[in-house]
Point group: C2
Chain length 253, copies 2
Amino acid sequence: MEPRQGAQAIRRALAVLRILAAGREDGVPLAEVVRATGLTRPTVHRIVHVLIEEGIVERHNKTGRYAIGNQVPELALARPRPSRLLVAANPSLRRASAEIGDTLFLTARTGNDTLCVDRRIGIYPIQVLSIEVGARRPLGVSSAGVAILAAMPAPDARKIVAANEKRFAAYQTDAATVLGQVTAARKRGYNMREIGLVQGTKSISTWIKTPDGQPAAAMTVSAVRTRLGPRREQEVAEILLREARTIEQAIGG
Amino acid sequence: MEPRQGAQAIRRALAVLRILAAGREDGVPLAEVVRATGLTRPTVHRIVHVLIEEGIVERHNKTGRYAIGNQVPELALARPRPSRLLVAANPSLRRASAEIGDTLFLTARTGNDTLCVDRRIGIYPIQVLSIEVGARRPLGVSSAGVAILAAMPAPDARKIVAANEKRFAAYQTDAATVLGQVTAARKRGYNMREIGLVQGTKSISTWIKTPDGQPAAAMTVSAVRTRLGPRREQEVAEILLREARTIEQAIGG
DNA sequence: AGTCGCCTGTCCATAATATGGACAAGAACG
DNA sequence: CGTTCTTGTCCATATTATGGACAGGCGACT
């Protein structure tokens, strides 16, 4: 039922926008958009420049990179209320952050991407702050992304990984590696990765499912590796798993 | 140089989105979108439904109305920093709100629309709260919209009014009325309207220009009419004009 | 009951639109 | 000064989006 047709151009424009969103403030060079979307360069060029004329995309004069423009947040103002997930997760994040003391991330799934929607900084003096609220990555690249893939039926996860394959190269990974990590996480009950995006960091992620069983988000703790030995990993994982279940209750009710 | 071509569909989709944004949470019926955009119904229908599949638009099951979807704020997260205008206007709004005591609105121009970007509630016990942050209207409909039109060269204003003409009917006005109000505001140096959107309210708006002379926003005070007699109108207008100039300085520097 | 008015959704032949191969030109590098 | 990277533009082509026409649903009025 999905593939309604007669709007190829619109779908393509949105694909471009989502790639640009992953580039955040700095934006993305045209060639990168071409690679990530699999479209031809003239097509991407045309789309991007029309979006610039419409105020949806901006071009940074210095770097020549393209980024999400002004009008997108303006359109977003039409939706005033904060998301259900954010409200439901708030007390759990506060509790877990106080208990653990390391940086805590809440990461939602949106299409084939993960999107960091909340971050809590702990009290421990060394904090991993690599990821900001708004950060967006292909599902499978980050610890949270692997956790979310692990929480869905294997065929669905494979489909998403295949769809994101072109984008993995930019993050120094590939489909096979990702699928391996997903399998490991599924066995373990949560995801753990020894080598975080920043050297010397370690991450633990648990998934959060909606009432219909689809994964909606992940909760992640990142810390310097030395602070997450096997024993503490166990402790932290238990807290995260407990709070993940609490959030699931809150969404369901 | 503007009209780059080869993307009619994308432009149309954005036109639809902007109309939907004006409908806020409640959304807009399809027929209204058709009227406001001047597109044919099959075209709008197709665009809207593709945008639904893409998560950009939502349809309220009860009412059948279409509204801006979840993914728009998600894309907007790619632009973390608050707008320049909001930062620059903050102290002025605080000051003016304390001094005046009635509700104060900051309204920006975006394309052919006005967008309420900030609101300060005063200390006087009766406050006009008709407009929320995020409210969007065709330029010319609201007091702020007329002020912004009055601040630009007459031919530009006429062009915008012509472009919005189809949408005026939904707000019980028309191009001729709007142009009359604009002329009056231009003579007066600020805009005043005796009959606000809500019965019995009166509004005063001043415009704020960017360094290049284009109007960027308007500052508006709304109050019950009895509270804004000729004498107080004068006082309030002076405060608003003073703060408008202050904001212009802050943007320029 | 019928009929009018206004709404949403769908079909498909057609024409207009978006496409992408090919070309051009600038920048960074050795 | 060739090589390889990038971004931008042209235009003949066929793919894609278009909109007139048709269909069905709902509520109001008679």
